[in-house]
Homo-oligomer: 203 residues x 4
């Protein structure tokens, strides 16, 4: 009576991870559906049981990345009340829990950035709205900074601009890390950079 029972969500996730691996290896444009199928060890047609199109897979890859990032931010800012500590957690967790754990994902981030920064029609903007994501991100960090200013930990500064600086620093380090995962001790670099930045804004 009943057909093969499959955990559709689990399989969808499997395919997504396979796609991420291939995307990060070959780049989105040069990835063929058959590559994803092979990576997932399924037939070409099976992919379409779980995704509408290649574009859809790329979009969901981004969603996945974004949700992970959200979770990390959430975790970081609720773990402690100390603004300084919050920023340090943000910096550290980004690398340890997000990038290092899914190193594959890292290389696609560039494609997210490239894709996300172009003007899109409404439909795509709902998925790839990097501008909005960064705006939210700045607000979140700005709030932490305001806290610190209120607590008397930080100097009076333009919190939004400073948030942009912190994000810039994180992204920059991310780029370096992607480029030279092995050669540079990025963890240390990241810490040094954060120390300098924190030092610069502390009262």
């Amino acid at each position: 009576m009943s057909p093969k029972i499959v955990d559709k969500d689990a399989k969808r996730a499997e395919i997504l991870f396979a796609a991420m691996r291939v995307f990060s290896e070959k780049g989105v444009a040069k990835t063929k559906m058959i590559d994803i199928a092979n990576a997932a060890k399924i037939g070409k047609g099976t992919i379409y049981e779980y995704f509408h199109s290649k574009e859809d897979i790329f979009g969901q890859t981004f969603q996945h990345f974004y949700k992970d990032m959200q979770a990390i931010l959430e975790k970081a800012i609720t773990a402690t009340d100390d603004p300084v500590e919050k920023l340090r957690l943000l910096f550290n967790i980004s690398f340890s829990e997000f990038l290092e754990s899914s190193g594959d994902l890292a290389k696609i981030i560039m494609e997210f950035w490239a894709e996300g920064m172009r003007n899109k029609d409404e439909k795509i903007l709902g998925i790839f709205n990097l501008k909005q994501i960064y705006a939210e991100y700045r607000t979140l960090i700005s709030d932490i900074l305001k806290e610190g200013i209120q607590n008397g930990v930080f100097r009076e500064v333009d919190t939004i601009s400073l948030a942009a600086i912190l994000i810039a620093a994180m992204d920059g380090v991310t780029l370096q890390w992607i480029m030279e995962k092995d050669l540079l001790n990025i963890r240390q670099i990241s810490n040094v950079l954060l120390d300098i930045l924190l030092d610069g804004i502390k009262k």
Copy 2:
């Protein structure tokens, strides 16, 4: 040496600029040869009189970007003997002369990064060897830092790591700038960031 050669070079450059405009607007993968031809107001077939392939155009776009960058670095480090001033020039010139002047180019940088960070066969590596470029870049900045240390301007630091930090900061700001050209006063942000960083390593 004949006038024709000059014409050829001029036209090649024209096509290259047209290509850059389209690349930055639609992304490299989604740019068709016909788009470039239209943008350059020439026939589709004419492109092949000046370039071997689409890949070739993309490669030369990168070369152009790279040469511009080289020139800026050159200019910066020869303009003064003061290491601090050299770094400041590096930061400022990057934005004023490079990015701001060819805003179109900025959006393709992501594609360079995305493209450049994948493992390639020898032929491509000769063109898109980002790792090597960044390594050179780090060496150059490291040399400035060493100068500063010798001069007693900077503390004793791991110059290569610090170079990486400075590059990270610059790249990060670039990203922010691409994303929010209008909203954020990136020039100011970049200066603030540099001040903080310099402050952090000054003796």
Copy 3:
């Protein structure tokens, strides 16, 4: 003979009717197996328990149509001995019992015709041999006409050609009926046409 066989046949018929509905709505080529399955409220795979292939379903749809037509012919020519009445019954029954009762079927007739008139390999010819069907049809009507001539009801005419004319008239009216089920009073048109035709051949 066991109840299962009855079930099987009933279900096969159900699927066939579902298929006919969808065929007539979307056309055979644009009908997917899943459409038929949905229309029949069964699973996609179940269809294959009752039919070998989509082609098979289409073939059996035709067979069904053909058997209905045969039955109508049979009914018409055995109901009375009067040749004129036989022809009138043929005309009328065609519409009342066949087309009007299964209006869905009507739209597929075009596909039967389109499919049936192409040269086919042996296998298909056994199912879709329209030429033969029409030849039989002509013979049957020709026999009625011959009867009428012998009885002195009809003039001496080329019975095969006249049979073709009668069939042409019926098919033509069918087409009009399919096209404008609602606007034209086809029943009346059909009667008028038949009256004219009969009048033309009566002695």
Copy 4:
């Protein structure tokens, strides 16, 4: 300076005729783009220089058929003032100039009918609006009949219904002709039928 000079319209027509040949041989659904390309002795991709899609080709095939028909009607109704003669011309020209001259086209008519009688979205309706075409056709013939009634040639009849009958007769004969191009003397059949019909409505 100038590239290959091609009469685009001529080539488009060539491809269209090739497509019509293949359509009529294999049916639209079973015709592959490569079949059309081969029939036209061009490359697969070349088709797309002249048509948007397979659907487009089919649509334009229909347009072509329709324009031919229009021209025939025009020719018939302007050639004489005698209503009876007009109808006879309509009947005869349809076969001699239209069907017999482009026998290939004939077999696709079924597909036009099948395609044209389904409910379509606006876009397709603009191309395949068979209902409207037949309505126009009926009006045109109805006008001829009205003329004949005014002239006292025809009895007082429901002209629209009679127009439908005449069209039905023509279509029916067409069908027979498609089916048995060789066996039946359709020209004669068509004349006999028309004679009977005219006789039936003459005063």
